[in-house]
């Protein structure tokens, strides 16, 4: 297996890393969209997160990574991160007739697809804006219901499919439909570091990694372990964290001020804030947590205002500033 660039060694890109940590801490936040120019390390970061995540307990041989039931042998497997590559055909995504068995043994059997393998994990879509429409619709359905229903080729199968979608892409190459945008919990924009010293550091680390992946990874082992432990601890703490009323009010106020569509924005905002509090080891979700995650939770849900040319991120920040003054 190809060694991935260590998550802890990524220079800068704080908003993106934080969003990925939040998504890893609380699945219900709903997934991350990473948009940015080519060469900004989006794919690197998302794949790096995979290597970071702690293993899960699954029933031995379960095609969709189900938690072991009473009496079943449990195995520890890495958190599934499944790539949805460009050009994937629907049969591979949802699962289909096992072609080999049908041809060689004349048996009808279900071969699980990518959605099965992604259950309890992450589904990563590179170049998400190039995804074919029918696959988009399919993913939306499954993401909403948490279940994959397969009716094809004489098969009738349903299985759990709960996963976090992480998509990366370049906004120059095509817009995403609003329905798909809204499905993502958090969105982040990344660009090349502006600071020359940072750019030099990125290049140096990248170079060092390419020349000696093993050595480089080993040097970052401790930092990686620290990241992993932080996420594990945060997951454990999540249920204990209280969200006081004034934090809830702050979130509601912000969403109202921005005219963010629907309740999903508010829910995401609160969940993300709570996950951030958990990652920081705080016992309560505070207003400052809400403010910190506001741009990533809301920038992709704002209705376009034809009279307002400002970018979405700027609008969120402006609303935050106005609230602070009030």
């Amino acid at each position: 297996m190809k060694l991935e660039f260590p998550f802890a060694a990524i220079v800068g890109q704080e908003e993106m890393k934080r969003a990925l940590r939040i998504a890893a801490t609380d699945q219900s936040v709903g997934g991350v969209l990473v948009f940015g120019d080519r060469g900004t390390g989006k794919s690197t970061a998302v794949r790096a997160l995979a290597a970071l995540l702690p293993p899960i307990e699954a029933a031995e041989g379960s095609p969709w990574n189900l938690a072991p039931a009473e009496g079943e042998t449990a195995v520890s497997i890495p958190t599934p991160v499944v790539d949805l590559p460009l050009g994937a055909t629907e049969d591979r995504v949802v699962g289909a007739l096992d072609l080999e068995r049908a041809l060689t043994q004349g048996e009808k059997a279900f071969e699980p697809g990518l959605l099965a393998r992604a259950n309890r994990g992450f589904l990563y879509i590179d170049e998400v804006n190039l995804l074919e429409d029918h696959l988009v619709d399919l993913l939306l359905d499954v993401a909403a219901s948490g279940e994959n229903v397969v009716e094809r080729e004489g098969l009738s199968v349903r299985h759990p499919a709960r996963f976090v979608i992480v998509g990366s892409g370049n906004p120059e190459e095509g817009e995403l439909r609003p329905q798909l945008l809204d499905r993502f919990g958090l969105s982040v924009e990344v660009g090349s570091p502006k600071d020359v010293a940072q750019r030099v550091e990125v290049i140096k680390r990248r170079d060092a990694f390419e020349r000696d992946p093993q050595g480089f990874a080993a040097a970052w082992d401790e930092a990686q372990a620290a990241e992993r432990e932080a996420i594990v601890a945060a997951r454990a703490q999540l249920a204990e964290i209280e969200t006081p009323d004034d934090t809830l009010a702050c979130a509601a106020e912000l969403c109202l001020a921005l005219g963010a569509d629907g309740l999903r924005g508010e829910l995401t905002l609160i969940r993300a804030a709570r996950a951030l509090a958990a990652l920081e080891g705080a016992p309560l979700t505070l207003r400052r947590h809400v403010r910190a995650v506001a741009p990533s939770s809301l920038r992709h849900r704002l209705r376009r205002d034809p009279l307002d040319d400002t970018g979405s991120t700027a609008r969120v920040e402006r609303a935050l500033a106005e609230m602070a003054e009030a």
Binding site: V11, R38, P85, G87, T104, N170, G174, K204
Partner: protein, 357 residues
């Protein structure tokens, strides 16, 4: 008689915006780029802007001829189906063998060699994304027709941009990943050798030797830093360009028989890789004056504390002489259309366009 002497590297192009580049130098650069690509296909490839004709044919012949004999060369048809590109079920073979038989896609077939993409300016986004993924990861992942297949696909891309208008260009997502950009349009017949391979900067044997030397070629941190700063000064976006430029310098050192990439190789790489991507004349970076004193080391991300022992703060790895040489070489070879555009804008802009110190 070292390869260095034989190569007779051309000097930097004359810095006069109105005159076009010297056709012989353009060809020499194209030939050099082909040789460097043969030494290190990890440089991604080359973008040749040229309509079909003798210049383009000669360019392609050079790329094909300098690669190792056994290396596959595949031409991507303009409208290629995903099946043919990524591989898919071979229906006839499957039915006759009574078990699934898959044919590898064209990209997997090109592993270890090169892919030629004509009409690059019209390539579909899906195709560009697949090529980009293969260039980034060196493999193709296909989930199609009942099978998951991961196939190695390490190849260089020679993209032929046939655009006529200035805004008809090969997609940036592809161009960004290819080290070299060459404009062969308008080259007079006289500048194109009748037998490109005979005049090539290096023979196939020399290239093979250079490939061996490349494995042990050091990668000095000053080199990377100089490239990043030069790219910054020239307004080159993204981080791939400086990475490719560093890589190119190492390939040049291997080709020239040098122990390590030095000023000559760095200047060459800057000229070939950075100059074509420049978007402005070099201006001193904003913090240049403050950097007379200590340059603060870069902050590693706050939440992690451990940095690998190999880290050095930039003030120890900066080589000012190298940086100057690199920037000078790159600035001297800026593309003519950029210079023309900047000259036209000169009346609107304030005058601070001094060369970097």
């Amino acid at each position: 008689m070292s390869p260095r002497d034989e190569l007779a590297l051309p000097g930097p192009a004359a810095p006069d915006p109105p005159a076009g580049p010297d056709p012989e130098e353009v060809w020499a650069d194209a030939a050099l780029a082909a040789a460097l690509l043969a030494v290190d296909p990890g440089l991604g490839g080359a973008l040749l802007r040229a309509r079909p004709g003798p210049a383009r044919d000669a360019g392609c012949a050079l790329h094909a001829g300098l690669s190792p004999k056994a290396a596959p060369l595949r031409r991507l048809p303009a409208a290629i189906s995903e099946d043919r590109l990524l591989g898919g079920l071979d229906l006839a073979a499957t039915l006759s063998a009574r078990r699934p038989v898959w044919s590898p896609g064209l990209l997997a077939e090109a592993d270890g060699g090169a892919v030629v993409l004509p009409m690059a300016e019209r390539a579909a986004p899906g195709l560009i994304a697949q090529l980009g993924a293969a260039l980034d990861h060196g493999q193709i992942r296909a989930e199609r027709d009942g099978r998951a297949a991961v196939a190695p696909a390490r190849f260089a891309v020679v993209a032929l941009d046939e655009g006529a208008e200035p805004d008809e260009r090969a997609p940036a997502a592809l161009a960004d990943r290819l080290a070299f950009r060459l404009v062969l349009d308008g080259l007079p017949r006289a500048a194109i050798p009748a037998r490109p391979l005979d005049d090539a900067p290096a023979s196939a044997e020399e290239i093979a030797e250079a490939r061996e030397r490349l494995a042990d070629m050091p990668s000095p941190p000053e080199l990377a830093e100089a490239m990043v700063r030069a790219a910054e000064a020239l307004g080159v976006d993204g981080l791939r360009a400086p990475l490719l430029a560093s890589r190119c310098a190492r390939a040049a050192a291997a080709l020239l028989g040098a122990e390590a990439p030095g000023e000559i190789e760095a200047a060459l790489a800057a000229r070939l890789v950075l100059s074509p991507r420049a978007t402005r004349l070099p201006a001193p970076p904003p913090e240049e004056t403050a950097e007379q004193e200590q340059t603060p080391p870069p902050e590693p991300p706050q939440e992690t504390d451990d940095a690998p022992e190999a880290e050095t703060p930039p003030s120890e790895t900066r080589d000012a002489a190298l940086e100057d040489k690199v920037l000078e070489a790159a600035a001297a070879a800026l593309p003519p259309d950029l210079l023309a555009r900047l000259a036209a804008e000169a009346t609107r802009r304030p005058a601070a366009q001094s060369g970097a110190g």
